[in-house]
């Protein structure tokens, strides 16, 4: 369990409505600081600038999908060590296994409950080394 509480979340998501709901959920209910990015190609730069505690990625995004963003992050020393949580509509166990194999810290299924989302993220956070 990390020494500090979860406070800063970076979120890459192309759907602006979902961005808004996630941001509101994490900020209002979870009392966290959230930075969202609509363009996955700018995600790496955004992470480097924002320096979050945790990164949330959508799976399917135009231009670059979530798993590719994760792989790119892992190749760069500055972003290699951030814990990454996927938030995705893909729900099969095979999909989940694939993401965990890539090194994802956790998975949140869409549709998610904004009421419970901060709780879910904190549980994943608590499970990290």
């Amino acid at each position: 369990m990390p020494a500090t509480p979860l406070e800063r979340v970076f979120y890459a998501e192309d759907d602006e409505d979902i961005q808004r709901i996630v941001r509101m959920s994490l900020e209002r209910i979870g009392k966290m600081t959230v930075k969202v990015e609509s363009d996955p190609l700018k995600a790496i730069e955004g992470i480097k600038a924002f320096k979050p505690d945790l990164v949330m990625l959508d799976w399917m995004m135009p231009g670059m999908d979530g798993p590719t963003v994760l792989k790119t992050m892992r190749q760069q020393p500055e972003t290699a060590s951030y814990p990454v949580v996927f938030i995705t509509a893909k729900a099969t166990q095979k999909d989940h296994a694939e993401l965990l194999a890539l090194g994802a810290a956790g998975i949140v299924s869409k549709p998610f409950s904004p009421k419970d989302l901060p709780e879910q993220l904190r549980a994943i956070w608590a499970g990290l080394p």
Partner: protein, 597 residues
């Protein structure tokens, strides 16, 4: 095909036939004897009359002559009677032996009659008359030859009858001349019998030839008849084969699937109309060319095709459900599902190969569209619903500020119905996946006590909403082999149903028991029970007892249908019973996990 052909008659001689041939030869001999008898009778009467007249005129013993004449006439009459009887007898051919015996007695009697004349009349007459008598007797003995020699011993009997009495008389007469004559008589007899014997043999061999020839003709006729029958049968069989061939050809020709007949080298021998239509090749372009089947296989797949072909020739096993993309004449590819059957003869070699193909291009396209639709439904409907439900949840959570009572009521209605729409979509996707066989389960050993507590926790919120208590009983640590997520889905379905239909303040009892290798989980409520009319379709799709319930209680009507299919996929059974005192118990049974040792 009908029965086997009858075999042709054997060519080797058999003993029974040989015997019957001999009896036929004998019958022919006897027939000849009787045929010539009338000549003998007439000659006997004529010479006997002349002799009687001659001897009577000068005899001292005229009484004996008259007696002899009467004896001779009687003998001739008796013989005539015998011949007459023979001619009218039915058993001439079957009993030649007995007719021969009668004839031999007759011949002997005739001989003895002449011998009597010699013995009685010789001594008492003049020298001239004695010469006359000796001539007559010698003539009679010699004349018997053509009449009796068909059977030599009949002649011998006759000749003994004629000569023996005279021989005795000549020996005892005392004259030197007669004594010398008596010495010559046996020689004469022996020569005559020898001639008779030779004549007999000639007759027999002649008759044998005749019988053999007759036999041959008979056999030949029989063989001919049999051949004729077999030809008729063959013709009949040929007609049947032709008819069934025509029938088969008709089946293939009019069939709505492509039918292709090939030899072992992949040369097409025949195609039906549908094959021509489907691939756009006229039959002439496909037939009788070396490995012409490859015209219908993509060049890129030729190698793989060859391997499959060799395997087919080796194993002789027919293949079904083979999906192959086949190029048409115009270059467009059609996907066909093929059934390939080698025709193997009784010696175990492949005589031809029948390939039947069905165009499934459109079906595959339809499947693809359905899948695309399903995944679109999954993604494109769920994404906006995520926003809708998420927004409403945030509003209803109160973190954005309090709403007034009317507003709160409406946003709750919106959230609940959004959730219901999402449930419906999820259920439809599940049913679709299960029924198309695309649902993959991930079974793992799972402790049932964990499952129980987790499902209670998951459904606590729902139960609270209906003011129902969730009570567990009999919970034990039993392990089943099941897909965790799917089994939780089943539990959630049963518990939420029970909660929905329980009266407020009631409780839902979740029980567990183990029985002969199976664990039974039950979820009981104290609701109104299940109407009789609804019981047999409760596990059907979109099944709800009362459509008003759908609005009052929510739910999609797919839940139990999904539960049933999921439990069955996990080798279990699902059912329900009425409860004493009202209510219903839904239960499922799963096999207890047997750890591998």
């Amino acid at each position: 095909m009908r029965g086997k052909m009858e075999p042709l008659p054997p060519t080797s001689p058999d003993p029974a036939r040989d015997r019957s041939d001999r009896s036929r030869v004998l019958a022919d001999q006897v027939e000849l004897l009787y045929r010539q008898a009338p000549v003998g009778i007439v000659v006997t009467l004529a010479i006997g009359t002349v002799l009687s007249v001659e001897l009577h005129s000068s005899a001292k013993i005229g009484g004996w002559v008259i007696f002899w004449a009467m004896l001779m006439v009687f003998m001739c009459l008796a013989f005539t009677g015998l011949v007459f009887a023979y001619r009218h007898a039915r058993n001439r051919d079957t009993a030649p032996d007995s007719w021969l015996r009668r004839f031999a007695i007759g011949a002997f009697a005739a001989g003895v009659t002449w011998g009597f004349a010699g013995a009685v009349f010789f001594p008492g007459h003049t020298d001239e008359q004695q010469v006359f008598l000796a001539f007559v007797l010698a003539g009679m003995a010699a004349g018997g030859l053509p009449l009796f020699s068909a059977v030599w011993w009949v002649y011998a009997l006759y000749a003994i009858g004629v000569m023996f009495p005279l021989e005795v008389v000549l020996l005892t007469f005392g004259s030197r001349l007669f004594t010398e004559l008596s010495f010559m008589m046996p020689i004469f007899f022996a020569i005559n019998v020898a001639v008779a014997y030779r004549l007999n043999m000639v007759f027999v061999s002649g008759y044998r030839l005749r019988v053999s020839y007759g036999r041959l003709t008979e056999d030949y006729t029989e063989i001919n008849q049999r051949l004729e029958r077999q030809l008729i049968e063959l013709e009949e069989v040929r007609r049947q084969v032709e008819a069934s061939g025509r029938k088969l050809a008709l089946f293939a020709e009019r069939a709505p699937i492509a039918v292709i007949e090939l030899d072992t080298e992949g040369r097409i021998h025949e195609v039906n109309r549908e094959a021509e239509n489907l691939f756009g090749y006229p039959a002439a372009e496909l037939i009788e060319k070396r490995a012409s089947i490859k015209i219908l296989v993509r060049p890129a797949n030729h190698e793989e095709f060859d391997r499959g072909w060799q395997n087919l020739l080796k194993t002789h096993e027919s293949l079904a459900g083979l999906k192959i993309s086949n190029p048409r004449r115009d270059g467009i590819e059609v996907v066909c599902e093929w059934t390939v059957t080698p025709l193997v003869n009784s010696e175990g070699s492949v005589i031809s190969i029948i390939a039947q193909g069905r165009d499934i291009t459109q079906q595959l396209e339809a499947d693809r569209l359905k899948q695309e639709f399903t995944s679109t439904l999954s993604h494109e409907l769920r994404t906006p619903l995520t926003s809708i439900i998420g927004s409403l949840q945030l509003v209803n959570s109160g973190v954005l500020g309090e709403l007034n009572a009317d507003q709160a009521e409406l946003t709750e209605v919106a959230e609940r119905n959004g959730q219901r729409l999402l449930d419906l979509i999820n259920d439809i996707l599940d049913i679709e996946k299960i029924e198309s066989g695309k649902l993959t389960l991930f079974p793992e050993p799972m402790p049932m006590d964990e499952l129980m507590s987790e499902s209670v926790k998951l459904n606590q919120g729902f139960a609270d909403r209906y003011e129902v208590k969730l009570v567990t009983e009999g919970v034990r640590n039993i392990v089943v082999n099941a897909d965790r997520k799917r089994l939780l889905q089943v539990m959630t379905n049963l518990i939420s149903n029970a909660a929905k239909f329980s009266p407020a303040g009631g409780s839902v009892e979740i029980g567990m028991e183990e029985k002969s290798g199976r664990v039974k989980v039950s979820v009981g409520d104290r609701g109104a029970g299940i109407p009789e009319s609804f019981r047999n379709r409760i596990f059907g799709r979109f099944a709800q007892a009362d459509s008003a319930d759908t609005r009052a209680k929510g739910g999609t009507g797919l839940g139990l249908a999904i539960c049933k299919r999921l439990i069955e996929l996990m080798d279990g059974t699902i059912g329900f019973d009425g409860r004493e005192g009202g209510g219903t118990v839904f239960w499922f049974e799963l096999p207890v996990h047997a750890p591998k040792t």
